[in-house]
């Protein structure tokens, strides 16, 4: 299987409000020590893909910092490896931005031209799942497909208006695609992951006129749906897209307190890699009480932590209480504070005795670097 991986991670993720003020959604921290992109990146590497292009656009600093040379994912290679693909100015291109997913790939056509790979897997940096793409590859070949899209059975937890809906026939061939409509026409939603023959992708992109070459799904695939063999590969496992809403982000994080989810994401035999930080193991002191929580390295806990996710280096001082919350890296919760139903970003300091909680059904975010 020779596949070139492309990860779309240019989204501003504006639905994540303050969390994406200074970072792109693919760089949003999840589960105490990871960033969203770790999942798709690790999935690719675990499936034997060793050439991966990461397409960035919106505020990429923290994403770049996280990815580095790709060393943690075994992608600092002489052959293959990781390529960061940022928008650029050139003689044939007067826009500083990628106009959409198709445009982003089109502008990096050189990578496709030079690649010896026959297939392209296009994923997103915002997806949380653990998948073996080899099975997708086999499915694609077996059906003689031109394009295969990964779909997911629609569940209550997915807001239908936020996703593309996909209608298939008995053989799983896609007969209709509707993007983000309120009405439910199918029980399959599109995850945003494409598997496509490279030569075909290049041809489709070259043959589309410039002003109709923005979105890969709507501008390139949908108009050609009748003429191409486009199939739907249904992924059965756990899958979430964290950039859809703050609630989605919160719920996804909280899902990790469920053993089945932990087992599937982390103990399936396919590891999820991330940037190492060399923190010491979490220390839980004499007067601490920790229950139903996920605690990352470097934490020092003296207070009470319930139903929460603590990222690396979080310090909870004596008498502080944290409930149903997500606390990101290096935040300090001082003595006697009470934190409830909230997301606290990195490097925040909650001073002694403060009480902070969200108004019900609306999860608040404390911005990075705030002192309260």
């Amino acid at each position: 299987m020779k596949v070139l991986g492309l990860i779309l991670s240019g989204s501003s993720g504006n639905k994540l409000e303050k969390l994406t003020k200074k970072r792109t959604s693919a760089a949003v921290p999840v589960f105490g020590k990871y960033r969203a992109i770790d999942f798709t990146l690790s999935n690719m590497v675990n499936s034997g893909i060793n050439k991966v292009g990461v397409l960035t656009q919106y505020n990429p600093r923290s994403l770049m910092d996280h990815l580095g040379s790709g060393k943690e994912w075994n992608l600092d290679r002489k052959r293959g490896g990781m390529f960061i693909l940022q928008p650029f100015l050139s003689s044939f291109n007067d826009s500083m931005f990628y106009e959409g997913t198709a445009d982003a790939i089109f502008q990096n056509m050189t990578l496709l031209k030079r690649a010896e790979e026959d297939f392209v897997l296009i994923g997103s940096g915002d997806h949380i799942y653990n998948i073996d793409f080899k099975k997708l590859y086999k499915f694609h070949i077996r059906n003689g497909a031109d394009i295969t899209l990964i779909t997911k059975e629609h569940k209550e937890s997915y807001d239908i208006a936020e996703y593309g809906q996909i209608k298939v026939n008995k053989e799983n061939k896609i007969i209709d695609i509707k993007e983000k409509i309120d009405e439910k026409i199918s029980d399959k939603i599109f995850t945003g992951v494409y598997f496509i023959n490279k030569a075909l992708l290049m041809e489709l992109l070259y043959s589309s006129p410039k002003d109709k070459r923005n979105d890969l799904l709507m501008d390139i695939i949908v108009p050609n749906l009748k003429r191409l063999r486009v199939y739907s590969y249904n992924f059965e496992g756990y899958w979430r897209n964290i950039k859809k809403s703050v609630k989605e982000y919160y719920d996804t994080n909280m899902d990790i307190l469920n053993y089945e989810v932990r087992k599937e994401l982390f103990y399936s035999g396919r590891k999820i890699y991330t940037k190492l930080k060399d923190f010491a193991p979490p220390k839980i002191n004499i007067n601490a009480e920790v229950s139903n929580s996920f605690i990352a390295d470097g934490c020092i806990i003296n207070g009470i932590v319930k139903n929460s996710i603590l990222s690396r280096g979080v310090i909870v001082k004596a008498g502080a209480v944290i409930e149903n919350s997500i606390v990101l890296q290096d935040t300090i919760i001082e003595e006697g504070s009470h934190i409830k139903d909230i997301i606290i970003d990195k490097d925040v300091k909650i001073r002694e005795g403060k009480t902070i909680e969200s108004i019900k059904s609306n999860i608040n975010i404390i911005e990075k670097g705030t002192v309260i």
Partner: protein
């Protein structure tokens, strides 16, 4: 000024019992995710020493695997870096390293390649935090030929160390290696700074002597002292532990737990680097009760843990109670099992409703020299079936299956040791 560090990591560490039967002492797991040698290597890189040779000999597989090309310590660099130095054969009479001095002697060629001004000789067996710049500055300030780091120890323990007698200017007047009647309490920590030209000459001289054991403490130091060289003692006042015995190993592990530990592994200004498994954060369930403990990544806690170090990937089932213990990587502790004051080595499986380390203390029937505390030690990859009862001061060797042996009960002081 160029400094090269040489870490002696070939020792067996016999007093750690079955832990070091298949493992070099520097590779023994420590503190939830580390191995003992991480402290010496991290001290080097934190002190700005980027050329580090690690001398191996006894059971080096896991150690060498752990070290790799020095990546976790940022020692995968072009100029300098980390070098593993195993014993080797050559046309001259090189062979196994006969002693600590011989191990350095046989690597003269390696050291010369880097043309260092100073060589700092370290041991891979100690847990400590030290800025080597201080001792090197001291060495230069005193224009010493050799500077030995030392610490005051209790008189009762002085016979385990090299003991120094110094003048008011810290110049060493006398040196006794593991003396029966110590003349003082200033003990050598096995950390030496030498000016390289001086050390090279001393090693060459020692190598040609047929009577020498080729050991730093026994031969090199006494012989250079006799020649009126400038030897100075450097008083180290920080944290330093020789985790050489089972009880000191457990104590030292539990010492890092307190709110103000003498060795703070959480100090961001002096990080300890290691090569560890890549696992998600630790999960502590709503049924769990964890106090005064380290719980490493990948651990899943459903039971009670008190005053213990839980390593990576350990599973503690519902109703299990662990107290004053060290539980190494990937150990599984079954439901309602009680473990007290024990060391359980990696990948061991303990079934449901077992009792380990309770009962009354009894003198060991296995080896009184090694197993002389109330700590029970269970080796690597061992299987303890449901409802097994194991007393205090017991020992079970690596790769033992109690189910196969049909043993349900082990009284205090008893043990199972594999025969070779």
């Amino acid at each position: 000024m160029k400094v090269l560090a040489l870490i002696l990591a070939g020792g067996q560490g016999t007093r750690l019992g079955v832990i070091t039967n298949n493992l070099a002492k520097p590779a023994v797991p420590f503190g939830g995710k580390y191995r003992i040698i991480d402290f010496a290597i991290s001290n080097c890189v934190n002190s700005g020493i980027n050329t580090v040779g690690v001398v191996t000999q006894y059971m080096p597989h896991q150690l060498v695997d752990h070290l790799g090309i020095g990546k976790p310590w940022d020692l995968d660099i072009k100029d300098g870096g980390l070098y593993v130095l195993p014993p080797y054969l050559s046309r001259s009479d090189t062979s196994w390293y006969e002693g600590t001095a011989d191990a350095v002697y046989q690597n003269i060629e390696f050291i010369d390649k880097y043309k260092p001004d100073f060589v700092i000789i370290l041991s891979g067996d100690h847990v400590y935090r030290m800025d080597y710049n201080d001792i090197i500055d001291y060495h230069i300030e005193k224009s010493a030929d050799c500077t030995i780091a030392c610490m005051e120890v209790p008189v009762s323990e002085a016979n385990r160390f090299g003991i120094m007698v110094t003048d008011p200017f810290n110049k060493i007047r006398e040196f006794q290696e593991k003396p029966k009647e110590p003349k003082g309490t200033l003990a050598s920590l096995g950390i030496y700074v030498f000016s390289w030209d001086f050390l090279k000459k001393a090693l060459m001289k020692d190598a040609s002597s047929t009577e020498s054991d080729h050991d730093f403490g026994k031969n090199i130091i006494p012989s250079i002292l006799k020649n009126n060289s400038n030897l100075y003692a450097y008083n180290f006042e920080g944290y330093w532990r020789d985790v050489g015995t089972i009880s000191s190993y457990l104590d030292c592990n539990l010492e890092i737990l307190g709110p103000l530990p003498p060795l703070d592994l959480h100090d961001k200004n002096w990080k300890v680097y290691t090569q560890s498994e890549e696992l998600p954060p630790a999960f502590i369930s709503d049924k769990a009760n964890v106090i005064k403990s380290f719980v490493s990544e990948g651990a899943e806690i459903y039971g009670e843990v008190e005053n213990s170090v839980i390593f990576q990937g350990v599973i503690v089932e519902k109703g299990a109670k662990i107290k004053d213990s060290v539980i190494m990587n990937r150990v599984k502790v079954g439901k309602e099992t009680i473990i007290n004051k024990s060391i359980i080595a990696s990948s061991t499986v303990v079934g449901d409703k077992c009792e380990i380390g309770l009962k009354e203390y009894k003198v060991s029937k296995i080896n009184k020299e090694i197993y002389n505390s109330d700590i029970t030690l269970i080796g690597f990859n061992t299987n303890i079936p449901d409802k097994t009862i194991i007393g205090k001061n017991c020992v079970i060797d690596n790769f033992v299956d109690l189910k196969e042996l049909n043993i349900k009960n082990l009284n205090s002081g008893e043990g199972i040791i594999n025969e070779f």
